[in-house]
Structure formats: C-alpha cells, structure tokens
C-alpha cells in the first residue's frame, strides 16, 4: 500500500533529524526513514541509550548533544521509521524501501537525502583480515555495545576521528599499543595559511589538541609520518608492519588494527539518480552540486549533512534546517522574504563552521599510498580483486565501467562503496588523467540489496514486456 508525504527524509543523523523537525514545525507532513534501529546516524549512534550513562560522559559533550535532538524528534510528530533501507528512488518522487524483508512504496513531493558519509576506503596489504576494522567501526562498537578491544590496539590514520576515539578509549580503560599518524610531512606547512580563518572555530582546534594531550599523558607510542602500513597474519591479524617517511621500518605484534583515512560523502543515491556532482580537490571526493538551499540538479531532491560535503555534526544540523526552509519555500509555505529571514542566522553560523574546513582538509590530506596500493593489495573486497587485476584492465583508456565489466570489480554486494574511489584513482594514474575526468562507476539500483521475494511482492498489478 503506497503512502504519501509532503517530505521524505532519508537518514536520521544530525542533518536528517534537524530537517525533519524543522519541516514538521513549518506544517509539512514528514516521513523520516533510517536503516539503523535507533536515531543518531553515525556520530550520535546509540545516543538514546548511552548519553545519560557514565560511558556517555566519557564519550564527550558533542556526543551527548545528540540525545536532546533525538528526544525532540520523538516529540515532533514526524513519522519516524527505523530499520528501513532505501533501495530505489524513481522520479515523481517514489521511494522504495525495505524493512524486515518487506518492501514498501512511499510517494513524496520532495525528498531530502541525509545519508551522511562513510570512511574513505584505504586499502593496504592485509586490510581484509579479521581484526582490521575502521576506527569508525570501533567507535560504533563502543557506542552501541559498550565494547572495547580486549588487548592493546593499534590505531593508524589521519583525521580528527582517530584522535577522538583514542581519547575516548583511554578514558574508558582501553589500552593503545601505538598510534600511527599517516598525515604526510608536508601537511602542516600546507595547512598553516588556513589557520587564521580556522581560528573562528577555535573551540574545535583546542579540542583536537586536548585529545592529543590525553594520548601523550597516557604515554601512547606515537609514530609520525607513517607512509605505509601492512597487516600480517593468516586467519587474523597477528602483526602490523609500518614504514615512515624517513625510511624506518618496524614490525610489531598486533591483535587488532584500526584504520581511518578521512571521510567521504555517500554519493550512491545521488549518482544513481543522475544528479550533477562536483569533484573537490580539497577533500579528494565527489559531492553533489547543490544550490544555497541544498537542492541538487534535480528539482525537489535535496541533500543535507556530510553527504553534501564533509563538515561535521553542527554544520550538518544547520544544513538540515536550511534545507527544510528551502523545501518549505519551494512548497509555497514560506515566501522568499520569510525564507531568507529565517535562513540568515543559520547561514552565518554555517559559515563559521565551514571556516575551519580548509585548515582541516589540508592538515589531514591523505597520503598518496591510499590511492596507489601495492599490486597484491585487495582492492575490491567483495570480489577479492587486487590492484594488479585492476591495473591489468586499465591498459588503453577504459573507464571505470568498462573495468567493472571486465573484472567484476564493483559488482559485489557493496556496489563499489569500498572499491570505487580506488579503481578511479588507479585508472587516473595508469592513464595520466585527472580523477575528475575518469569519473566513477555508474551506480544502479538497488541501492541496498533487496530480495527477489520482496520485489515480487511489491504491490504492482501491471507487468512489463
């Protein structure tokens, strides 16, 4: 049975919740769907259960802030449906979802995608071994199951998240065997010119320094300028090997390695719909092209949050509120003047949040090896294809889709989420073209796997050809 709403919001993280609450307050009928069992997205994962506990206090105020928003969502009158995956959107808009193996259809005049971001795939030899996880995964385990590594853990990567997780882990009694900082030597110098502007968000910078201090006080071994890492082991990780930019090489015994090389917007839904995307050289990723309200190149389709560009939870909430205003304006519920007036303060605050980005993007620019893995490294995790396999198919000037057709890279269940960027970079390097020109896999539905039984049972009397 098809249901109809004024606005369907996909994703219950900071942006999705802010947008849904704001749109509802502006008088719209709003549906919010999310694939997780509880609201919060990734940054506020599990917040309803955890924020008020002592664990929550150790996770920090930024995390606990999500509890109030989740409560506001529950009280807002927004129709909120968790554990629901979106697998297709058709123009009109018609959304196709799946919940507990049951497919459903929703019609909405406007759609807001707040599907956030994922960690940037950072292949290295051994990254598919049990015991190698992303830092984000470890943090989610902390938030949703109060679990920590049972032995000293190695953390490798670059960005605010590894530092934050390391600090949280220490506060909760976890142990860190070593912190491998993979930020390349030139990053600090490159980031310096952006520092003055970044001081507008001095609070964030101080927080980062604070986390570093916690690590130093706990005597966590810190290795700077790590250019290469490798996870060794047969059935599980048993050792970590790393090399620094000045040529030092060490192999240390390890039972777990956490990796994080930045965050990239989730572009699968917007690419599947054919929206225009821009390549960002600063963040080394694609993001949908958006107007000042967050509308994509398709009328009635908006994006807010990290999916619009990596900028953190506060910026995500602001973008969500702005999108709600833009959507209400488009629906005729607000006139131009009212919309601009409501948006004014939000835009100023968003500007302050975005001011720190150039500095962070430069400071945490990933090392080149992330995009140029060794031949033996698995690139497509699903189909177990190596960098060598991709490089062999790159001869000539095939694009990512031809390479996909020939090698099966990108044809597994993750649909290119873990290999797409690597394949595009490998092609760019082999063909000496910019990545922006090489492009990305053509994304096709289903956006998430759906069973034949669910498809067969969709309420559709007509048949085709």
């Amino acid at each position: 049975m098809t249901r109809t709403f004024d606005l369907a919001v996909v994703g219950a993280g900071p942006a999705g919740m802010a947008a849904a609450i704001a749109a509802k307050a502006l008088g719209m009928d709003v549906l919010l769907i999310d694939e997780q069992a509880a609201p919060g997205g990734q940054i506020w994962r599990g917040v309803e259960g955890v924020a008020a506990t002592s664990d929550g206090a150790q996770l920090g105020a930024d995390y606990q802030a999500g509890a109030a928003v989740a409560a506001a969502l529950r009280a807002s009158g927004v129709v909120y449906e968790p554990a629901t995956q979106l697998w297709q959107i058709e123009p009109g808009w018609r959304l196709f979802t799946s919940r507990e193996q049951q497919a459903d259809i929703i019609e909405a005049a406007t759609v807001l995608l707040a599907t956030g971001a994922q960690e940037r795939p950072a292949p290295f030899p051994g990254w598919t071994l049990p015991g190698v996880l992303t830092v984000g995964a470890a943090q989610i385990l902390l938030k949703t199951a109060a679990q920590v590594p049972d032995r000293p853990v190695w953390i490798a990567g670059c960005g605010p998240l590894p530092l934050l997780y390391a600090a949280q882990l220490l506060r909760l009694g976890g142990r860190i065997a070593g912190f491998l900082d993979t930020a390349p030597p030139g990053n600090r110098r490159a980031a310096l010119p952006h520092l003055p502007q970044a001081l507008r968000a001095a609070g964030d910078l101080l927080k980062g320094l604070g986390w570093m201090r916690e690590l130093r006080r706990a005597n966590v071994p810190l290795v700077r300028h790590v250019v290469e890492i490798e996870a060794l082991g047969r059935e599980q990780v048993s050792a970590v090997r790393y090399r620094t930019s000045d040529g030092r090489e060490r192999t240390e015994s390890a039972s777990m390695l956490l990796i994080h090389e930045g965050v990239v917007p989730n572009i699968h839904p917007t690419m599947a719909l054919g929206c225009a995307h821009d390549w960002s050289d600063d963040q080394l990723c694609w993001a949908p092209a958006l107007d000042r309200w967050g509308e994509t190149s398709l009328v009635g389709l908006f994006v807010a949050g990290d999916g619009a560009g990596i900028a953190g939870a506060r910026a995500a909430s602001l973008r969500g509120e702005l999108a709600a205003i833009g959507i209400a304006r488009q629906a005729g519920r607000l006139d131009e003047g009212e919309a601009d007036q409501r948006a004014g303060g939000l835009r100023r605050r968003l500007g302050r949040e975005l001011a720190v980005r150039p500095f962070l993007d430069a400071l945490f620019r990933p090392r080149p090896a992330v995009f140029a893995p060794h031949d033996d490294t698995v690139v497509c995790r699903c189909e177990e294809l190596t960098a060598r396999d991709i490089r062999a198919a790159a001869v000539g000037t095939p694009g990512p889709n031809q390479v996909k057709a020939f090698t099966r890279a990108g044809m597994g269940p993750c649909q290119g989420r873990q290999c797409g960027y690597t394949v595009s970079h490998l092609l760019a390097a082999a063909q000496k073209r910019p990545v922006a020109e090489v492009g990305f896999y053509r994304i096709r539905p289903p956006l998430k796997p759906v069973t034949l039984g669910e498809l067969a049972s969709l309420d559709r009397p007509e048949t085709v050809g």
Partner: protein, 361 residues
C-alpha cells in the same frame, strides 16, 4: 560485440584491421546480454535465419577454443542445452506449436528439441524445486551459453594479439568515401582503408548513411536483474533465468520500446522477479545486487542486416540483436565475405533492401 567478432574474423584471415570503439558511457548492447548461444525458438518466418543461427551455434565450440588459445581468456562457454520454462498448460502448448512450426519452416529431418512435461522436467532436473505453476519446458540440447563480458574481453584481446589495432574511447566523428576507399576520423586520428565495416549497433544508421546504405535500426531496452553469488542450483540456461559460473543468477529480460533510455524501473524489476520466483521459488530469498539495462539493436523485422553498399562496394554494415549467438558466424562466414569483397549468397535474405517494400498501386 558484433564489431569485435567481425574484426577478429578479418584479422584471422590476414587483413590489416583498425577497430574504433566509442566511449565508456556509450550505449552498449553487449553489456546487457544474457550470454545465450541459442537457436531454440528463433527465426519464425525466416528459415534462413534459423540456418544462419544453427551454423553459428554449431561452430561456437571451435570458436570458443580458438578465442581461448589466442587471448588466454576463458569465455566460460558451455554447451549444456537450453530450457524454456512454461507456466500453465497454455504456455506449454503454445511453445510446442511454435517449435513445431519452426521445424516445418526449416524443412529439416529430426526435431532438434523436446517438450518436457512437468514429470519429465522434474526427472531432468533432480534436486531443483520447481514452482507449482511450472507445467514443463522445451529443451534444445545443442544450445549453450557464454559469459558476455568475458567474451567481449576475449574478442578484443584476440583481436589485438592477432595484429589488430584497437582504439577505445574514440567515437567516430567523420566517415566518408574517398577515391577507391574510405576515410574515418576518430579522436585525433585519421584512418584510410580500402574496406569499411560499420558495426556500431544503434549508431549504425547514422554512420552508414554517407556510404549510401540505409540501416534502419532502433533501440529496444532490455532490463535485467543480477543476484549475489549462490551455490549451484540450475545446471543449464533457461530463458529469462540463468545461473552463471560465478554462481550469480541473471534474471530478465524485458522488451521495451522507450528509445535510447537505459534507466531501469521498479515495475520491470517486479515483473521479472515474479516470473523467476514462480519458476524457482527458492529464489525468493536471494538478494538482487544489480539491476541494469542495455539497448538491443532492433531492425524492423528483428533479423540481422548484412549489407554491402552499391555505390561504394567496399563498405559493409553488420548489425543484429543476437550478437553472441551469431558471433561465430560473424567471425566466420561474414568476415570471409568481407575479405572476399562480396557477402555469400546465404546471407542475401539479410540485405537491407528487404525493407523497401513497394507500395501497392
């Protein structure tokens, strides 16, 4: 696919060949192909097509071996037979009638197919749980199937390793007769040749016009679904349902007249799923990992065009929608005809002149 097969056949006969291919995002019929190397059910009303397809299907084993030897790529060709499942008695009867009529048109001796009722089918496919509405199937033991993506890779590699020159991502910008031969401009390059073969699928009409050959082709969309890898369940290819050597199931295809549009629809996904689940109910729990579409190259009567320009006899057009089943023939008799400068008499029913039907006075 068609061009690559013809190109291989030409270069194997000693010709010096340049093959020019379009962009990564171009409409490619080859990407939406089920990989069937079938004769079953084809050619109603045109026995020459049955004969052509029959020759190609029979010759496919040698063709696959040769491709494998030259390119090192195993195209996963298997000759296990073809099955067309029928739901309900009406479909089974209609299937029997169609295949009998085809046999009559062909005028051959023994039938090359069998009609299996439900009971026979269960014995033929032990361990396969059939849906309640499955009434039976038609079987043609001499048919086979192949991996279309590997086939294309195998053809292109065989071509280049046999001395052919391949240019990818270089769509033709200009093509015209010049003196005794032809000039082709693509990307930054300019090629001059004595013979020219246009095998550009739905772009063939436009490309062939300056050569004085009318090639009326239109795109016809075929959508298909691909599942995750499953344990082996179905040992042979069925129409609309095939388990590949990777273990994935391909389910499809639609036949839609929507112009050059490769977007996919949930409506089609639903109807394809319904039929698949009606045939093999266990598939209900399999997840679909990809849903995509390709464009078939359709001529007005559905049969190939093998034509030679009258004004410029060195120019040929080769186009069809069964590029895989006919690949052996394309690399064989069609390529031989192009090298000889004249297509063989068996292919004359496929000349484009057949579309000029004189109006009744």
């Amino acid at each position: 696919m068609v061009g690559a097969a013809v190109a291989c056949g030409l270069v194997w006969r000693g010709a010096k060949v340049v093959a020019v291919d379009g962009g990564d995002g171009d409409f490619r019929a080859s990407r939406a192909n089920f990989g069937l190397v079938w004769l079953q059910g084809k050619g109603l009303g045109q026995p020459a097509y049955q004969r052509l397809t029959g020759r190609s299907v029979e010759g496919w084993s040698d063709f696959a071996v040769r491709l494998g030897e030259i390119s090192g790529i195993d195209v996963h060709f298997q000759r296990r037979g073809s099955l067309v499942f029928c739901l309900g008695e009406g479909e089974l009867e209609a299937r029997r009638a169609r295949l009998s009529r085809l046999q009559v048109e062909l005028g051959a001796g023994e039938p090359d197919f069998e009609i299996l009722n439900r009971h026979d089918l269960e014995r033929f496919l032990p361990g396969v749980r059939l849906g309640d509405r499955v009434s039976g199937a038609s079987l043609r033991p001499r048919d086979g199937h192949v991996n279309p993506l590997r086939l294309l890779a195998g053809l292109q590699r065989s071509f280049t390793l046999s001395g052919g020159t391949l240019r990818c991502s270089q769509p033709v910008s200009r093509l015209q007769p010049s003196g005794e031969g032809f000039i082709v401009e693509a990307g930054d390059e300019r090629f001059a040749a004595a013979r020219l073969v246009v095998a550009a699928g739905i772009a063939s009409g436009d490309l062939a016009a300056p050569l004085g050959i009318a090639a009326p082709v239109r795109p016809q969309r075929g959508q298909l679904l691909v599942t995750e890898r499953l344990e082996p369940m179905l040992p042979m290819a069925a129409s609309g349902l095939r388990q590949t050597m990777d273990g994935t199931f391909m389910i499809g295809l639609t036949n839609e007249e929507v112009g050059p549009d490769t977007s996919v629809t949930v409506k089609a996904a639903t109807s394809m799923s319904r039929r698949a689940v009606a045939i093999l109910p266990d598939l209900a729990r399999a997840t679909v990992v990809r849903h995509w579409a390709g464009l078939r190259v359709m001529t007005p009567d559905g049969f190939p065009i093998y034509a030679q320009s009258e004004q410029h006899p060195g120019a040929f057009v080769v186009t069809c929608h069964s590029g895989i089943a006919l690949a052996a023939a394309h690399a064989g008799e069609v390529a031989a005809g192009i090298v000889a400068g004249k297509l063989p008499a068996e292919l004359s029913p496929f000349h484009n002149g057949r579309f000029d039907v004189p109006k009744a006075a």
